[in-house]
């Protein structure tokens, strides 16, 4: 029976249209709907299924962020996680919080909580870093199975099918290990209303990076955040001759 640690991140909801702040320092987050990173939902679902199959004994969810990160933890608890740990990072510190800091926090908690498996989403849909799983494995010096689309438990090991360019790779890793979830790993369940109510009774422990001995000093400086280029409007041409004319003009023929 294994203890599983899952990392969940609170991000701007996938369906929200992202707006860049006029001063280009970041994106508008005030008054914008947030929810759990979809890849983390897949990670949580996988952990909950392991518990249902009696492979896992306890599931602990961790989220780093401001006070509202607890809402994300509640969602995880409603999906079937046993307890939550909220690592409070807010204000300026949160703006420059990077995967390196999060991996150190996850690694420390994995050791403190005696976890046998760490599952995280392969990347967050806000910064698209795709680094946390890899770096957590490095900090812990544990094997890693990234981009998992199938996980099977063996005796003291996991067989993981990984999504790689144009195909699949199957690897076997010894436990303890770090796994990152890809889109096709499973279909996350919906947190139902009664379960959300029940989740309110589950415990959430609050800690700070300082308690864990992790320095969250900024390692980067955000220079500029910009909108992607807008696609230029096309035009309708009357006939083939005009098309050829335009193509010659553009130097394509």
């Amino acid at each position: 029976m294994a203890r599983v640690l899952v990392g969940v991140k609170r991000v701007i909801d996938y369906a929200v249209k992202i707006r860049v702040k006029p001063d280009k320092t970041g994106v508008v987050t005030d008054g914008v709907k947030h929810s759990m990173n979809p890849f983390d939902e897949i990670a949580v679902e996988e952990a909950v299924r392991m518990k249902e199959k009696k492979i896992a004994s306890e599931i602990i969810a961790v989220s780093c962020g401001p006070q509202q990160a607890q809402e994300t933890l509640r969602t995880a608890l409603a999906m079937g996680v046993d307890r939550g740990i909220h690592v409070e990072v807010s204000g300026k510190d949160y703006e420059t919080l990077q995967p390196i800091h999060v991996s150190k926090i996850l690694a420390k908690l994995a050791q403190d909580e005696k976890a046998d498996l760490v599952i995280v989403g392969k990347q967050a849909i806000d910064d698209d870093s795709n680094q946390t799983a890899q770096m957590t494995a490095a900090v812990l010096d544990w094997p890693q199975g990234t981009f998992a689309s199938k996980i099977e438990k063996g005796d003291g090991n996991l067989t993981i099918v990984r999504e790689i360019d144009g195909g699949l790779e199957t690897v076997k890793v010894k436990l303890p290990a770090v796994v990152s979830a890809d889109l096709r790993l499973n279909e996350p369940r919906y947190a139902t209303l009664p379960n959300i109510m029940k989740a309110k009774k589950k415990p959430i422990k609050k800690v700070t990076p300082k308690d864990l001995g992790v320095d969250t000093a900024a390692r980067i400086e955000v220079v500029s955040v910009e909108d992607p280029p807008v696609r230029q409007a096309g035009s309708v041409l009357a006939d083939v001759d005009e098309l050829i004319g335009k193509l010659k003009e553009g130097g394509h023929v």
Binding site: Y14, A15, P38, I125, L183, E187, Y190, T192, L193
Partner: protein, 83 residues
């Protein structure tokens, strides 16, 4: 659970799900309320039972709809060029 509380529970669950409805919460809520009000005079327990079953089916359909919408959006964003 009595039928009355089952109906109330169903209504609450649907309201909760409606908050994420693609066409907006208001669109969903007004229609939901209309459907429930339309059947308010029903007294036959068998008929009510069928309606509750139908409501639970709608709950499952909505959950599936949201899941698929999210899955497809992510697939388009991150796995765009593949089939």
């Amino acid at each position: 659970m009595s039928q009355k509380s089952q109906v109330i529970q169903l209504y609450k669950t649907l309201l909760h799900l409606g908050r994420e409805y693609p066409q907006g919460y208001d669109y969903f809520r007004t229609r939901l309320k209309r459907v429930f009000m339309k059947n308010r005079e029903t007294t036959d327990p068998k008929k009510i039972e069928t309606m509750i079953m139908h409501g639970q089916y709608v709950v499952k359909e909505l959950e599936a709809l949201y899941m698929l919408k999210k899955y497809r959006t992510l697939k388009r964003r991150y796995y765009g060029d593949q089939s």
